[in-house]
Symmetry: C2
Subunit: 232 residues, 2 copies
């Protein structure tokens, strides 16, 4: 399968690397590949420059958002939530049309300091905004409720834990569930919340996730939805 | 211990009944006890009228918000979130001063239809509003992230699962953790998120909780925060 991963940050790199290791053809999309490759300083999160990662992952391409999206049969949005709609406009509606568009971004707003808040929130979500902006894409919100290393290697976390999917297209959610399975997610760990409006609830997990991250000092945790005791 | 439980709905009844069964002296608070007892119809959620429940729980008192709060050494707010500040004003700041005030309410706003949204949300929370309005009370937000039957009988849900506490007063959180222990919550299941501003994250779990409730068709589930696999 050909995948486009939009975004060159740690989330994009982690997902792109995992997809490549599974044998997929992967192109990472960025606004300007030359600028991305020219950076020599760590990013704002302290991650090494993209070029260093790319040197170790030569099988992964780097193209403009539009060229990457044109290449991918499935597109993964890993850009910062506040920039996702711009990045997807640059990717181009025609390059997203008819495709599964996996949205793992969170609309974190750092403008009011730490911890960040969400924008949009409560009566809307980034997942819905993307679906409205690109009605021909099959948007599936998933994986946004955990650290990127857990996304692609769920066994980092003990026992059973949960990944949510939200989207309007049942076939797209089924395809994403299969992809999650290849990442190591048992089917029983995948909870289909419903249509894309349920992305609100998934995105609204971020504030408590961020507090837990601060408390634990690491991201190797996840939410598990525990059901009734057996026998009931 | 003397407890005041403010609110006569299913959450208040469930917590009041559990406290009484543990041997505590419990008074339920309502705006007008005569009106509450005179109701003969089920409430908006289909629960039987309070008087029927009260007939089976004669050891639990029913008083005005103010008389109940004056009686309680600890006060539990189980009123509907949109009415909690009014109810607590009726209870009276003097009757809350210096006491642990356990807030289990969620500020659900049904004015825009189903599913409800939250108000306040994101940059504020009901827990914080209550703490600001009653600075002499020791507000602890807890138990709001689950069905009331799970609150008082965590064994309804399989395996380990989590209850969060948020508050500015460490001693109050410790007292609440002990009370949760008497309800059946192991200490290891209690996660102290931090100060009362962390109630935002706990309240923002409601949208996904409501979607899961709709999907499962019952409330016998809960979130568990799974940590790293052992050995790491």
């Amino acid at each position: 399968m050909r995948y486009a991963v939009l975004g060159t940050g740690i989330v994009g790199r982690t997902i792109a690397g995992r997809l490549a290791s599974l044998g997929h053809d992967v192109v990472v999309g960025t606004r300007d590949p030359a600028t991305t490759l020219a950076r020599t300083e760590p990013d704002g999160m302290g991650n090494p420059p993209f070029a260093r990662w790319h040197a170790d992952h030569g099988q992964v391409g780097l193209e403009t958002f539009a060229a990457a999206a044109a290449f991918g049969e499935t597109v993964v949005n890993t850009t910062a939530g506040g920039q996702s709609l711009d990045a997807l406009q640059a990717a181009g509606a025609a390059n997203l049309s008819g495709k599964v568009l996996i949205d793992v971004a969170n609309p974190l707003d750092f403008s009011t300091g730490m911890p960040p808040t969400l924008d949009p929130v409560n009566t809307d979500s980034l997942g819905e905004r993307i679906q409205r902006a690109f009605p021909e894409a099959k948007v599936v919100k998933t994986l946004n409720t955990m650290n990127c290393f857990v996304m692609v290697e769920p066994a980092r976390v003990a026992g059973e834990h949960t990944v949510f999917v939200s989207g309007d297209d049942a076939g797209a959610k089924e395809a994403v569930t299969a992809l999650l399975g290849s990442f190591g997610w048992p089917r029983a760990s995948v909870i289909d919340l419903g249509d894309i409006s349920t992305a609100r609830g998934a995105e609204m997990l971020l504030p408590i996730w961020l507090r837990l991250y601060g408390r634990f000092g690491h991201g190797d945790f996840n939410f598990h939805v525990q059901g009734p005791r057996s026998g009931d």
